[in-house]
Subunit: 268 residues, 2 copies
């Protein structure tokens, strides 16, 4: 693992001035690599970070070694500047870590219980979609519950529109169509979501919780954990809003897991 | 200066999960120390960071040595945790740096040109007021202009209510009353603002830009730079919205500078 210390004057620490990716790597081969690099590049451009040759990252997955790993890659604007004003020129800094990873397979098959968070995401179109480092809203939302029987928390925005879960995107099926919240005002545009949109139609919609409650099925997805069917949704006080009966055959989950190579390993 | 390296798994870097203060120190004596410590404590409580004995910081200002310095203090939730979920227990980490500082005295006397930023702050009451590390909105706003003749940028929220400048609070006088924007949905509750509120009446109001344009005088303030009278306000395209004639006697600025000891040094 690369020496990972950062100086205190790094702007990633000072202001959240940077972006990151967490990438699933199996036996040294990354999953959804192009989509991760595309989002990283989009974040670099959105924050006007200095240009960076992403080819430098190509060699990292092979260093993960055998087995299932998560490669976390952070790119910051680097050190310094007078206050919020970035230095000219800035020298970007990047760091990475590798962690062993084991997906929670029972959540794929048994589904998960989810709650609605009390916190509402602020609307910030300038930061929406990218995976920047200023994620304190997600931290506060994740602090709302300690019960391990609750797998995730749904987030709505300041005008009560559905956005995502604290670390996953949300997809549901309604009247035979797949839908997911628009991510143009807040939220992170997930790489697994992008990969699925390339192979199936998923409508991006601006709707409130009632639309989700009317869905025939719903899933939480991300590029590391895969797809978790939602079994039950509670409000923030713990009252059940809706339960879903899980289908015996879940083609959406299967499509998600094919993207991550999970179907082959676990007979899903 | 304390060894300031931080590990990559520090949550301040990963998520902006922490708070900071920048404190003016003159000849080893801090200005507005109690207010800085009070805001730090408020931030620690709001983020539910582990309790920290702030007495540990009491010895820092004396280490700044002679002259005018800025002491920057960062407190993060420390390392680790599974994703956004904080580790239990978390071990907070704190770091500090000392920098030489020279206020820009001509801005006190000649006033400043200010522009309105295009970026609108997202509304997030859970983070409003505290000086947390997830300040990417401020960075993006400060990137909007490069012209050194523009000293600061005004920020409005997503519903076009006045909030602050990128690194300063905003105060104006209208019909003989001092007013400042409410900071309950976004923005940072400045220590100099708090100090001034303790000695003069300043109404916190939720208003748009028109109220500022109708003001008789306006200032930007913070606990390091002091008070800058606003001479001219432009829109984000550079069109002048309003000019103010600076008063020969500015009692508000004098009151601000007494809080920071600037009046004694510079005959203000």
């Amino acid at each position: 693992m690369r020496d990972t210390a950062l100086p205190m004057d790094d702007r990633g620490l000072a202001y959240g001035d940077g972006v990151f990716e967490t990438i699933l790597v199996r036996d040294g081969r990354p999953l959804l690599w192009k989509l991760h690099m595309a989002r990283l590049q989009a974040g670099i451009e959105r924050l006007a970070l200095p240009r960076l040759d992403l080819a430098a990252f190509e060699a990292l997955p092979a260093q993960c070694g055998p087995g299932l790993k998560v490669l976390k890659l952070i790119v910051t604007r680097g050190s310094g500047g007078r206050g919020y004003r970035p230095p000219e020129p800035a020298e970007p800094r990047w760091r990475w870590t590798i962690s062993a990873f084991q997906p929670i397979a029972e959540r794929w098959f048994e589904g998960v219980n989810v709650r609605c968070c009390e916190l509402r995401l602020g609307r910030q179109p300038r930061l929406a979609g990218i995976k920047h480092l200023a994620r304190l809203e997600n931290v506060l939302a994740r602090q709302e519950w300690q019960d391990d029987a609750i797998a995730e928390g749904l987030l709505l925005d300041s005008e009560d529109c559905l956005v995502e879960a604290t670390a996953m995107n949300l997809v549901w099926r309604r009247e035979g169509r797949l839908e997911t919240p628009l991510l143009d005002r807040c939220g992170v545009d997930g790489t697994l979501l992008s990969a699925l949109e390339a192979i199936v139609d998923i409508d991006r919609v601006r709707v409130g919780i009632d639309t989700l409650l009317a869905a025939d099925a719903a899933w939480l997805i991300n590029s590391v954990q895969g797809a978790w069917p939602i079994r039950r949704l509670d409000d923030s006080a713990g009252n059940c809003l809706r339960q879903w009966r899980l289908a015996t055959s879940d083609t959406f989950r299967q499509a998600a897991h094919e993207q991550l190579g999970y179907s082959l390993n676990l007979g899903d």
